[in-house]
């Protein structure tokens, strides 16, 4: 290699050697110096190989930046926007880095999963949910992204803990809260409920629109909304019913309810009664054993019928 580290004289070396008894220092110094030269044994990487690797990296960076520039609209912006832009770039850079280095945890349909993150925070994932976090989690940031529903118990820490869920962000330092955010729900609506501490909830990158949610409160935001709803009181036990394998639907459309049932019971529900798809329902089931009894119940209330299929049910008028 053309550039060897010369570190016989570095500060660590002297500090280390000084920790040994005076009688041993010469010997230790000799080993220290000689082991520094062992590294020179490493075979060389040819220059053209390095250049080739560099050109690969350039290609990847350019592909990344095309998509990033589109999002950020980078041009000559005045200073007032610099900070906003920097914040956007940070978020986008994080988003992009996830493409390369994400750790992904999935809760399969019909199952729930509990994860402990590198900072000691725990996350319980509802069936069908996906949690991703950067490989540098707890080093550069404590950012996670969520598609689905999860209950977070965040360890206190200096770095804020941020949940990125379908275009919304939740920021905290140490607290317990629930995020429900399914990308395939109408408007990819995100619902945040707090059971301990407090969180800030806002559309991604627009922290000036943040609402602060306190224990026992819920706020909602969907892609078509200007800002999150004012936090309103809610029954925490009901909102966190899923953690105990109960089912709670708070003014949810049949489409949303059926998707939840699909995930929870790992079945397919073919909703053919399109006219009723957006009718809403508020209902609660304690530890439901099977999906059939729930469907019977919902269909009776809504005047629908259902039949069994190979891998689930068909619901019709």
């Amino acid at each position: 290699m053309t550039d060897k580290p010369k570190h016989n004289e570095n500060k660590s070396g002297r500090d280390i050697i000084d920790q040994f008894p005076a009688t041993e220092r010469n010997l230790i110094k000799e080993i220290w110096d000689k082991s520094g030269r062992v590294a020179e044994e490493q075979p060389e990487i040819p220059k053209d190989e390095v250049e080739y690797a560099l050109s690969e990296v350039h290609k990847r960076i350019e592909t990344e930046e095309k998509s990033t520039d589109k999002k950020a609209g980078i041009s000559t912006l005045n200073n007032r926007w610099r900070w906003m832009l920097a914040a956007a770039v940070v978020i986008i850079a994080f988003g992009a880095s996830i493409l390369f280095l994400p750790q992904t945890v999935n809760a399969p349909h019909g199952d729930m999963v509990s994860v402990t993150l590198p900072d000691g925070s725990t996350v319980e994932l509802n069936s069908g949910s996906e949690l991703q976090y950067n490989r540098l989690f707890a080093y550069w940031n404590r950012d996670v992204s969520l598609d689905g529903e999860a209950y977070f118990s965040v360890q206190d820490g200096e770095m804020p803990f941020t949940v990125d869920a379908n275009g919304s962000e939740v920021t905290v330092t140490g607290t317990k809260f629930n995020v429900r955010s399914w990308s395939d729900d109408p408007g990819a609506e995100t619902e945040v409920t707090v059971s301990e501490g407090a969180v800030e909830f806002y559309p991604e990158g627009q922290s000036q629109k943040a609402v602060k949610i306190f224990p026992g409160q819920l706020s909602r935001w969907a892609l078509d909304m200007e800002k999150p709803t004012n936090p309103e009181p809610v029954s925490i036990d009901r909102m966190l019913a899923w953690r105990e394998h109960n089912l709670m639907f708070n003014n949810k459309s049949l489409l949303v309810i059926f998707r939840e049932l699909e995930r929870r019971f790992d079945v397919e529900i073919d909703m053919q009664a399109t006219g009723a798809a957006h009718e809403t329902l508020t209902t609660y089931y304690a530890k439901p054993k099977n999906v059939k009894s729930i469907l019977e119940d919902i269909c009776r209330v809504k005047g629908l019928r259902f039949s069994e299929t190979a891998n689930g049910y068909r619901v019709f008028q």
Binding site: P5, A39, E41, Q42, L54, F100, R135
Partner: protein, 194 residues
């Protein structure tokens, strides 16, 4: 090419944070070979190691605006590469990968050693001794001696305290010292015998 000084690297990082591609390229050319060798110690595959190091540099570029030129970019890159390597080992644990030497020019048994105070021979012996160290001690020691990182940089890479880094290195030196003393003793006896 002369080894760039810490100051030079600091300036590169500062330039990189302002999106200067030339500075990025210089840093890449300087650190890429070392990082590939470093990753190969874990992955034992040059292709995998090269990919990991390239990923690390892409991440570095993406994060350039957050870079702090007072923090060690070396520690940052080594840390990414080490974490990817450990994940790779974890995900491919059916194969026997581990923190082992890639270079299989293992020194033969002591019986047939030609006890000359030959610097080249001794280098190989020393390398074997280092390979025999417990994993964590060895990692810390190699990051210090082979990669030229300072203790607080190693602490950042290994996610341990600088104090623990120090302890690992002192422990490593202690066992190397014992083996070196034995070795010198053997040479003396060998020479007497001759």
């Amino acid at each position: 090419m002369k080894k760039p000084s810490a100051e030079k690297i600091r300036i590169w990082v500062e330039e990189i944070s302002k999106s200067n591609r030339q500075a990025f390229d210089s840093l890449f050319r300087h650190l890429y070979p070392r990082l590939v060798h470093f990753a190969m110690k874990y992955t034992r595959s040059k292709a995998v190691a090269s990919d990991m190091v390239q990923d690390a540099f892409v991440t570095l570029w993406e994060k350039r605006r957050q870079l702090d030129s007072n923090l060690s970019v070396k520690a940052y890159l080594y840390r990414i590469v080490r974490n990817s390597s450990l994940n790779y080992i974890r995900d491919h644990s059916s194969k026997t990968v581990g923190l082992e030497a890639v270079d299989d020019s293992k020194f033969e048994s002591s019986e047939e050693m030609n006890w000359q105070d030959d610097a080249e021979e001794f280098k190989k012996t020393l390398k074997d001794w280092i390979e025999d160290l417990p994993d964590r001690q060895r990692e810390a020691f190699e990051l210090s001696r082979f990669e030229g990182l300072e203790h607080d940089e190693i602490a950042g890479v290994m996610e341990i305290s600088p104090n623990t880094v120090n302890n690992h290195i002192v422990a490593a030196l202690n066992s190397l010292k014992d083996r070196y003393s034995e070795y010198q003793e053997e040479i003396k006896n060998e020479r007497k015998g001759l």
